[in-house]
Symmetry: C2
């Protein structure tokens, strides 16, 4: 990656992280009553952590179409609220039972399980509160389209469905097409929704979104392959979460099914392919290109 696109990406990441944190901080002011603990848990989960890849994708896509930044930041924060709720629930003892997330204790460790369930549920509702608010877009049709996209991507036919498949993966031995489908739902659906929501904010009609959808599908898959590679090769301190869990659980992953070398090649190929979908765009899509390359290199 050239120095120029690195700095474009780095400043974009820093800016988006600050904007998302600021909006969460605004929306999650701790009330002076018995709900305080719930808001504290939501803040613990939502503020100050993560790469904010999903808001970055919403904002980078929206910026191609000169969407007002305020709208893109709000829509991106809604997607991030969904992502964060899914992490809080995924970390629960009855799910992945993780103690560490983004370098901090998980919500059920820092608070307790019941609070973690409610904090996840509350972040889930918050996502739709944000999107239904006229501040996210003055046009109600656009808001409805954003909401439909996010609800479908996060529900049983998307992310939650993928998480269910992931639970079943411990009992079955999935083949490569099944693992690909699992990941397309579990992480791919929300990544695809992020790009889609940027296009919706840009009033791009569905038939004009084909290339952006191709880009999103490819980086979503590359992202998950790199995740599987990091699970084998990564450094827990750097990742801020427990690794090597898939192998321990005997789950089929891209690495277990393809081998480490082929998985790396495949991830690289997918990133190049994702960038090729953007050939019709000029410099206005440079941030999306830089994000694609970052997906590949984030394990370094």
């Amino acid at each position: 990656m050239g120095a120029q696109s690195t700095s474009l990406l780095e400043s974009a990441i820093a800016q988006v992280a600050a904007e998302v944190d600021e909006l969460f901080d605004q929306l999650l002011q701790v009330p002076d009553d018995a709900r305080a603990r719930l808001y504290q848990a939501m803040r613990h989960a939502a503020i100050g952590g993560g790469k904010r890849l999903r808001p970055l994708l919403v904002i980078a896509t929206a910026s191609i179409f000169n969407v007002s930044r305020v709208y893109a930041v709000r829509a991106g924060t809604a997607v991030e609220a969904i992502h964060v709720y899914s992490l809080v629930h995924d970390d629960l003892p009855c799910m992945d039972d993780d103690d560490l997330r983004r370098g901090k204790p998980t919500v059920h460790k820092a608070f307790d399980e019941a609070t973690a369930v409610l904090a996840g549920d509350s972040l889930h509702a918050l996502a739709f509160e944000i999107l239904a608010d006229a501040a996210t877009h003055p046009d109600p049709f656009t808001r409805s389209e954003l909401i439909a996209t996010l609800a479908t991507a996060s529900g049983p036919s998307g992310m939650a469905g993928g998480q269910m498949m992931d639970l079943e993966a411990e009992k079955s031995s999935f083949d490569l097409p099944t693992v690909t489908r699992l990941q397309a739902l579990k992480t791919g659906a929300l990544i695809a929704a992020s790009v889609e929501m940027g296009a919706i904010l840009g009033h791009v009609p569905p038939e004009g979104r084909t290339h952006l959808r191709g880009y999103a599908r490819d980086i979503g898959l590359a992202f998950q392959i790199v995740d599987d590679i990091m699970d084998v090769e990564g450094d827990e301190a750097l990742a801020g979460k427990a690794l090597h869990k898939d192998a321990d659980a005997g789950k089929a992953t891209f690495v277990s099914l393809m081998g480490l070398e082929r998985a790396k090649q495949q991830a690289g190929m997918l990133v190049e392919q994702s960038v090729s979908h953007l050939a019709g765009y000029g410099h206005e899509a440079d941030l999306l290109r830089a994000i694609a390359r970052y997906v590949l290199e984030r394990d370094r």
Copy 2:
């Protein structure tokens, strides 16, 4: 209650129950892949049970304004999806740890805890999928208003906030104003949202909703007082869930704070007051009146 309003109510309850079940059945067709278990758990929780009070309120309110029944049933089913998800999560071992719900094993008993977390999350997303769909209302502004109302009522400033207060109630000794506030959030917010959504579907502007809001606030509170009375006096087999839990947990309730007799008087007074808010409406509001009286008598 007169025989006429009983039969009006009974046939309305039966019809709404069938309509809600039919829509859930349609929306939750079990896919032929590893997500099957998730959909089965959602169906277990959502289909064939409960009084469907919230959809009934949406539909009864919407019918005052001659709203197309299809819209009202869809909006009511969205509220019910939120209610059902909250029951599934509330029953989890880390929350209320209940084995029985609506006369059936709870989802984590019939399936497992992880599936129950995901089934709840999926029903939560489904609610917003339903509302964002143009089939719920052709006007996107109306859809956005429905979504904002439901998201706010179910999130941390509504239902989830009330559940958090309820968890804290085991540690603190709440006074009557605090218990009233807790219940206004925990159950009142979603009951109020049901009536509000009926009015939204009827294109009633916010300033025209004052009496309906008064009605909803009063029956919401009456509903919870009756719930506390049933927790003391009720029959577990009839209720289809565990009772006497509040007293066992040492939680302050309307009954523990007011005494049984005063609680009964208060519930009766609230129901009469809720009906008085409907004085400006004619026979078109008879179903809402019958629902109010049913809230009081459901413990018989």
